[in-house]
Amino acid sequence: MPAPPSRFRVRIDPLALILPIGLLAIWWGAARFGFIHNPLLPTIEDVGAAAREWMFGAGNRYFFSGTWWRDLIGSVLRVFIGLTVGSALAILVGILVGWYSMVERVLDPMIQILRPIPKTAFLPFAILIFGIGNPPALFLTIYGVFLTVYIQVVVGVKLVPRDLKRAARMLGARDRDVLLRVVLPAAMPSIFAGIRVGAAYAWLILILAEMLAVGEGFGFVLWRGYENLRMDVVVMGMLCIGLFGYLTDRLIVAALRRNLSWAQDVAETKL
């Protein structure tokens, strides 16, 4: 038996630490030795205090006091729903479009027209139609993920080698089995690549939607922080988005490594 694919491991390359630690040192030094004159620019201590207030603060001292868990769960759930629902829809529609030319002729031109319109440009209409709260944010995230993943699914389906489909047929497979047992698995590397890019889009779109249309979440706190000129809170918002966006990506890569060990070039590329 071949060795099982490597599990999710965290190894930190010391070289990777040089820049972040260096930047922190410059930031700290600049504040410590009086180079920061603009009172709006936060020091590391300010950001640390904001983080404590956000995570552990009690009462309603500030708009973000003690709301971190609410914001975290809200944002992560919205990204998760947007990514799973958007990807599932994209896989379903993408496979039909890639497989049946009639479906392609009906659906694809419309999708291609929508694609160049920035996904976030639909936010005003989403708010107008769905109001404020989860619905417009979810709609926009699902829509953005769908368009991103859809393309990769169609490409993946179309690039399945002809001989692989022929092999299936000469072994006795009918349409349904060719599609589910050959085309779908063969397209998985491309679909996974789409989901990975889709996850980045999900965070991007969701944060914007939260800024303008949701009363909680990392995006909401970040924007309210700016409106209140609390740049320490803005920095914390950015850090949280970066951290959880990174973790999302790592999870997808780990799933990809586990399931696509057969696609050597995909599985072995350092991602």
């Binding site: 001989d163 692989l164 092999a167 299936a168 047929r169 000469m170 072994l171 089995d177 050959v182 060990s261």
Partner: protein, 252 residues
């Protein structure tokens, strides 16, 4: 199964330019039950096209193609194909590649699994059942491709330059193995190759093909008992004869 091509022609039309290319013109060829027939010729002589027509991947532009008296309309498990590209399912283990046919044909998997074990033994892949194709050597992948097709017990075996990508020594070993397996199964074989020695080593009959458009140039019968000696006088004479026929077809 008998394979019969009567005045078969195949024209490909370029979708973009609308230009027609005649790949095969007026092919008349009857391959007898249990015959091992090699299609030999340079690139572009339409050997693979004939194979694709028999497999049912493509349909003739004119003429009739029948297998056991029935017109070929689609690919099916009665005609097993061994591709040049192998086309193993890379996400399935060797065993699961063998089981693909039984699965999609909704056969009894318990019985088929035993049959797969026997075939794994026959092609010498014991211990590699659970390996993915990319973990196997080229020769081993080739064995999986052969065993996968044999699972369906096809009465016709269609092979498209299956050993072209192997190194010389592995190729010879695989030829011997293929000959041995064929003598056990006695399927009708159509074997496409551009390798003259391979054709004369394996086949009962060599169909020599020419280019522009693809046509049958000559048929050579190989009268030599198996197992064959590659360097016997008959073999060498046959190789020379085939080479003389093909020489004028070669353009560099």
């Amino acid at each position: 199964m008998t394979i019969e091509l009567a005045s078969v022609s195949k024209v490909f039309t370029d979708a973009a330019t609308g230009v027609d290319t005649v790949a095969l013109r007026d092919i008349n060829l009857t391959i007898a039950d249990n015959e091992f027939c090699a299609l030999l010729g340079p690139s572009g002589c339409g050997k693979t096209t004939i194979l694709n027509l028999i497999a049912g991947f493509d349909t003739p532009s004119s003429g009739t193609l029948e297998v056991d008296g029935a017109r070929v309309v689609a690919p099916g498990p009665d005609r097993g194909v061994i591709f040049q590209s192998l086309s193993l399912f890379p996400w399935l283990s060797a065993m699961d590649n063998l089981m693909f046919g039984p699965r999609v044909r909704r056969l009894n998997l318990k019985i088929e699994r035993e049959k797969a074990q026997d075939l794994i033994r026959l092609v010498g892949l014991e211990g590699f059942e659970n390996h993915l194709p990319h973990e196997l050597s080229g020769g081993m992948q080739q064995r999986v491709a052969i065993a996968r097709v044999l699972m369906n017990e096809p009465r016709v075996l269609l092979a498209d330059e299956p050993f072209a990508a192997l190194d010389e020594y592995t190729r010879r070993a695989m030829q011997e193995e293929f000959s041995r397996i064929w003598q056990r199964t006695r399927a009708t074989v159509v074997f496409v190759t551009h390798n003259i020695e391979e054709a004369s080593f394996l086949a009962d009959r060599i169909v020599v093909m020419g280019r522009k458009p693809g046509h049958v140039k000559a048929m050579l019968t190989v009268d030599e008992a198996r197992p064959r000696n590659r360097t016997s006088e008959t073999m060498v004479a046959l190789t020379r004869e085939a080479l003389d026929l093909i020489q004028p077809e070669i353009v560099v």
